[in-house]
């Protein structure tokens, strides 16, 4: 093998190989870096609201100047709900049920007394909530009430109250461990419950409790009459269906799709990353052609040697192996170097990102390197195939 290499390394052009190596390194670094950046930053903008099913809207009626006085007009009649149900795009529909009793929530700490506030609850049907069912249920006997809070409330505390009063910031995990005291009262009766926060929602702006609790509590502590809902939750088949917007507009309903600004940023991010990746791919493709041409030249120059080796009885595998190894080594070497570039650049932008985005968490580098490995092996395999097909 040593002699074969001594023979076949003749005519290898170092400048061509170096040229390929750097072109490939640059292309590979651009592709992998943009992928890595995308994997790192995109989650910040697409924080999925895991508590709810994906394609849903909340629907309210538009509030006019006089509507506070005519409260009947801001609620949905059963006829209107029925009409919505008939629409093609509606997969499922549920109403928000407000609490019809007095609610007070508080927190007591052993040494500092505590604080309490009046509040309200709403509920939506069970099937719209995506929390593990054992966490999201209520039974009158065990007195524990699961609650979903809007994420805004936590932000309001962290960035408003805590900043102003120099209080410690709290994160979601911590607050989930705290239980609240909840008093509900009505019809001359009262009950004390333990409130337990099971999650935060960025998409629904209300304090949610299980529907089973709401039905039970409204019946026991609330007013007797059934209240029409003022908000509806709708699951749709296809969120891009243009019929949806047209329908709601014609009826004068407001729809709330949640975090539209973030999803727009996410879309721009995708477009920019795609453009950068395309540039990387073009550079990579060009470098691939440099290597290919360089190998073609090398094969042509050394063709007689290879033919003689074949005539001496050397198999095709042995004769092509030096060049195949060469392409694999050069491709993988540039991948290794590109990986180092990514690690270095990531360590440079991580601190910046952590300052800008609260919820920024760099994703692992393994997926990116894995993709790089696939690209690298694919290019090397095409090279090998070409080399093998040139030798009889």
């Amino acid at each position: 093998m040593k002699l074969i290499w001594k023979l076949l390394k003749q005519n290898i052009s170092k400048p061509q190989l170096v040229g390929f190596f750097f072109a490939n390194l640059i292309g590979m670094s651009i592709i992998l870096l943009s992928l890595q950046f995308y994997f790192d930053v995109n989650p910040v903008f697409t924080e999925e609201d895991t508590l709810f099913k994906k394609d849903y809207f909340t629907v309210t009626k538009k509030l006019g100047l006089l509507s506070p006085l005519a409260s009947k007009k801001s609620v949905f009649s059963s006829k209107e709900v029925e009409d919505l149900k008939q629409q093609d795009f509606v997969k499922d529909i549920g109403s928000f049920i407000p609490s019809q009793f007095y609610v007070k929530a508080g927190i007591t700490t052993p040494d500092q007394g505590g604080f309490s506030t009046e509040m309200f609850f709403e509920s939506v049907p069970q099937q719209f909530i995506d929390v593990k069912s054992e966490d999201w249920r209520f039974s009158p006997v065990d007195d524990v009430l699961p609650i979903i809070l809007p994420k805004n409330y936590l932000d309001l505390y962290n960035f408003g109250y805590a900043e102003a009063r120099a209080m410690p910031k709290i994160n979601e995990g911590l607050i989930k461990m705290v239980t609240f005291d909840i008093y509900i009262q009505g019809n001359g009766d009262f009950k004390k419950l333990k409130g337990n926060i099971v999650g935060f929602s960025t998409r629904i702006n209300t304090i949610l409790v299980p529907e089973s609790f709401m039905l039970w509590a409204n019946k026991k502590y609330g007013g007797k009459e059934d209240v029409s809902p003022s908000r509806l939750i709708i699951e749709v088949n296809d969120i891009t269906n243009p019929q949806i917007a047209t329908y709601f507009k014609s009826k004068g309903y407001d729809i709330d799709q949640g975090n539209t600004a973030a999803s727009r940023i996410s879309m721009f991010l995708k477009i920019i990353v795609t453009i950068v990746i395309i540039i990387g791919v073009i550079i990579c493709a060009l470098s691939f052609f440099i290597l290919m041409l360089s190998i073609y030249l090398l094969l042509e120059k050394n063709m007689q040697k290879m033919i003689t080796l074949r005539l001496l009885g050397y198999s095709k595998n042995i004769v092509t192996k030096p060049y195949i190894l060469l392409t694999f080594v050069v491709n993988l070497a540039s991948l290794v170097l590109a990986s180092i570039v990514i690690i270095v650049v990531q360590s440079l932008y991580n601190p910046v990102m952590e300052n800008v985005f609260m919820s920024y968490e760099p994703s692992g580098i393994l997926l990116t390197i894995g993709i790089g490995l696939v690209i690298s092996l694919l290019l090397s395999s095409i090279n090998s195939w070409v080399i093998r097909s040139k030798i009889e």
């Binding site: 001594k6 023979l7 033919i307 003689t308 005539l311 009885g313 050397y314």
Partner: protein, 213 residues
């Protein structure tokens, strides 16, 4: 492989010509253990015959068979094995590697077959009077010296037939005798057949049959 046979063989370049030959367009078989001489003037297709026989040209009609297997139907992998273990060829153009030394040129074959020890190779080099050139680059040697290196290389493998394409075209009679002995001893030891081509000067062996191409 015990027998090489030609059946109505004719190079494509001769297909429109009237040929008078002992090999072209005849049925001939060569037996293992025998020596054959193929004589002709230049341009009658000696080297073509060698390249057909060694499987790197197929521009002919008719058939060449090793025992009963037709060579045109052999796969590259089968050829690898034949060139390594059954058939050895001294190319007229030698096909040595100019950038390698004498010893390396021989070893590149012997490493593949593992047939001779380095000691045996050195003895052969000494016998042909080029042992002091062992580490010299082939490019710096005369054609006659290169011929001797190529002959030694062709002996560094097991074979049933040894084909020598004009082996002594650039050698004196003394060297021709040495080579004849070296070749005959090796062929005898292996029980192999020898096919020699010539355009005038014949390798001095005892030939079973002589063909005029």
């Amino acid at each position: 492989m015990n027998k090489i046979s030609f059946h109505n063989l004719l190079p494509d370049v001769f297909k429109d010509e009237t040929i008078l030959s002992d090999i072209w367009q005849k049925d001939i078989s060569l037996q293992k253990g025998e020596n054959y001489l193929v004589k002709s003037v230049s341009g009658k297709g000696k080297s073509s015959l060698c390249s057909f026989l060694f499987g790197y040209r197929t521009d002919y009609s008719g058939k060449i068979c090793f025992d009963d297997k037709e060579t045109k139907r052999m796969t590259p992998v089968q050829w690898d094995k034949i060139r390594k273990d059954e058939l050895s060829l001294l190319f007229q153009e030698l096909r040595l590697f100019p950038e390698l030394t004498v010893l390396e040129n021989i070893q590149i074959k012997n490493n593949l077959t593992g047939f001779k020890t380095e000691q045996q190779i050195r003895v052969m080099l000494q016998y042909l009077g080029i042992e002091n050139k062992v580490n010299e680059k082939i490019a710096k040697m005369s054609w006659g010296q290169q011929q001797r290196v190529a002959i030694i290389r062709s002996l560094c493998q097991p074979f049933n037939f040894l084909v020598l394409d004009e082996p002594i075209s650039h050698l004196d009679d003394e060297n021709a005798l040495l080579i004849a002995k070296l070749v005959q001893d090796e062929a005898k030891a292996q029980g192999a057949g020898v096919v020699v081509t010539s355009i005038g000067k014949n390798l001095p062996l005892t030939y079973t049959q002589t063909f005029a191409l």
